[in-house]
Symmetry: C2
Subunit: 390 residues, 2 copies
């Protein structure tokens, strides 16, 4: 186990009707004038946005609005939000939505008090040292951004998708999590979320750092519960308990508790980010294709943890043969993805003629060379991994 | 899964040499003049106290000292600390030690800014609404107080041991956790800590709240890792990795992450608190006798979760017979306690003639009637449970 700092101060308010507490929570963390950030029409149509506004009204908190945030959110909306914050003296962001909305709010939160270009933080030129407080009303369990200090934004010019990771500045102050708000999520989007949260655990689980038994067991436990509850939410979208388990699992998958004390990997995410930036596929669907390909490739080079995953999480019978166990575990993972309606290949993802050399070139241009840690991956490796996605 | 609020804002700084960062951490959370609270001679002899003082000196932070805190800490030291804080304008407590030291610091932290008697909070007359910040340098992984908002203090007059639970006021601002500081813990004390942290999970795991799969799996994972790593630290007290896993597990066992979304139990702790208050036995040793007795009693009345524990944590082969599985799980738990040198009966605990009627009377006088939730326990029940400890 390596030395680590773990600091996750988000106040999670979880359960039915919790969105009625947004005003009180915003007050508790000092909000007087907030910018409400949200996505498409569903938060409007469902009445959620009105309920949030009412809660703010009751608490005497002023608000402005910025809607229409789209998946794979782009820098132009962040710049727009920064302008609104600055010109109206906004002192808190409240994101009503999923990862794209939250990540946009985070970009605004760190960009507004900074004199330079907020992109400096995402491309690694500067380190965040100040940010406006961010609150969240979560509607899509997937990205885990409600509990993380991270944000992913795509630069429209050049389709560069970069992630920013902060220790605590961009961790939301509070996250309101009502599982009922997820009842109307389409099956495909629900499944994408399930794949994404599992991937957030994989990126932390696959490590060469030895002797992280506690963190391993926690990660394995959350993975098992995601698969059990994930099948239920696909079968019955209004199963409150299954929705609740999935929602909480998505937070634990990415708030750092599954990664304490170890070197993390993140190459599957990097490999997928190029897919979703270039072909505009859903991040979770892209991961359903990427993760098994990555796992097959690395299992040939460093089988240990893949075999442990197969045995402890996928219940592959304990044999002496690590390689066979690993392959069976990966097959079962693919079967699980299939069972919740996820694509397993470029073709199923709707990418007919992937330009693999371009993907590889962009990947290493954006993310360096090599990428990953469990197995270090150069262009030859990532090229081979993309080719396993046919 | 029930509605819940989870807010655990402690900054954990974990690993080798981390005590050198105490001064910087105290500054970060606003400390200018701190009261160092500690226990017996070991933190002095080991040089730890000097290292902590040096770190404070370097950061330009003044400090006063209050040493000699004993196990099952008493109210008189809390009153003493409150006097020191008030007369010297202390603005932060730093506890260097284990649960008794941390809990004393917490009593001082909530008592000092309060006009009345700090005991009001512990006996339930008042709710904590303010507290000085508390920092921790942990030397004994067991109580989990480094990450919890709780504190347990014994009133010297009458031997009443009461726990205070706050949502966030008494959560430490930071906890420095260096596993090397635990190398010199005697085997018995190490084992007591292992039993205690497992019990903190049991109190949350045994619930009638259905559909908490994520929390169950996390709890089961931490329990499994405690047993695997616990055997190692008893065999080899200077095994850094095993010590590190045990130390982190002790935090996760009690910082609330194993209890989200469910009604908790806490009757084993209540039953044991009377033992350690009256007979001054080590809390962990008392729990090693109490927990299996409690589990045997409740398994006859509500077997489901005990059987789940047996199968998922104790690896009892999956049979259709819940009762048989539960009993085998309890036997294996007792074998585990035995293997790390823990007592399994009153006699082994050194209590020759327990006054069970007195224990039962005090228990329900202090903790109400009935106690517990997984099975509600009145005096007849707790009497029977004490009798299972012979």
């Amino acid at each position: 186990m390596d030395n680590f700092t773990y600091w996750a101060p988000t106040k999670y308010v979880f359960g039915r009707d919790t969105e009625s507490r947004v005003g009180q929570l915003a007050s508790e963390f000092g909000g007087k004038k907030v910018l409400l950030v949200y996505g498409g029409g569903s938060v409007v149509r469902s009445g959620l946005l009105e309920r949030v506004k009412s809660a703010l009204d009751v608490a005497g908190i002023e608000y402005l609005e910025m809607g229409g945030i789209r998946p794979n959110p782009t820098d132009d909306r962040v710049y727009e939000g920064i302008d609104i914050v600055r010109s109206h003296d906004v002192d808190m962001l409240i994101a009503v939505g999923g990862g794209s909305v939250i990540d946009t709010a985070k970009g605004i939160a760190c960009g507004a008090p900074y004199e330079g270009d907020f992109w400096d933080f995402y491309c690694g030129k500067k380190i965040v040292g100040n940010a406006l407080p961010v609150g969240v009303v979560l509607t899509i369990p997937a990205a885990g951004s409600e509990g993380s200090g991270n944000s992913v934004i795509t630069k429209s010019d050049g389709l560069i998708k970069l992630s920013l990771r902060t220790e605590h500045w961009l961790r939301p102050k509070f996250a309101v999590m009502n599982p009922e708000l997820t009842f109307t999520l389409p099956a495909y989007q629900t499944a994408c979320g399930i794949v994404d949260m599992m991937a957030h655990i994989f990126e932390r689980y696959f490590t060469n750092t030895a002797d992280c038994e506690v963190t391993d067991r926690v990660a394995e436990g959350v993975l098992k519960s995601i698969m059990a509850e994930g099948r239920k939410v696909i079968d019955n979208p209004t199963d409150y308990q299954a929705r609740a388990n999935i929602m909480w699992a998505g937070t634990l998958a990415h708030n750092g508790i599954c990664g304490t004390g170890r070197v993390e990997d993140w190459s599957s995410h990097f490999i997928e980010h190029e897919l979703s930036a270039v072909y505009d596929v859903a991040h979770g669907a892209g991961l359903a294709v990427t993760v098994p390909a990555w796992m097959r490739y690395v299992a040939e080079r460093n089988v240990g943890k893949v075999a442990q995953f197969a045995r402890r999480v996928m219940d592959v019978a304990d044999t002496a043969d690590d390689h066979a166990a690993a392959m069976e575990g990966i097959n079962r993972l693919r079967e699980f993805y299939r069972s919740i309606g996820m694509p397993l290949s470029f073709e199923e993802l709707g990418i007919e003629q992937p330009d693999i050399p371009e993907l590889v070139a962009k990947l290493h241009e954006h993310k360096g060379n090599p990428i990953g840690n469990y197995v270090k991956l150069g262009p030859e490796d990532t090229d081979a991994i993309y080719r396993l996605m046919y």
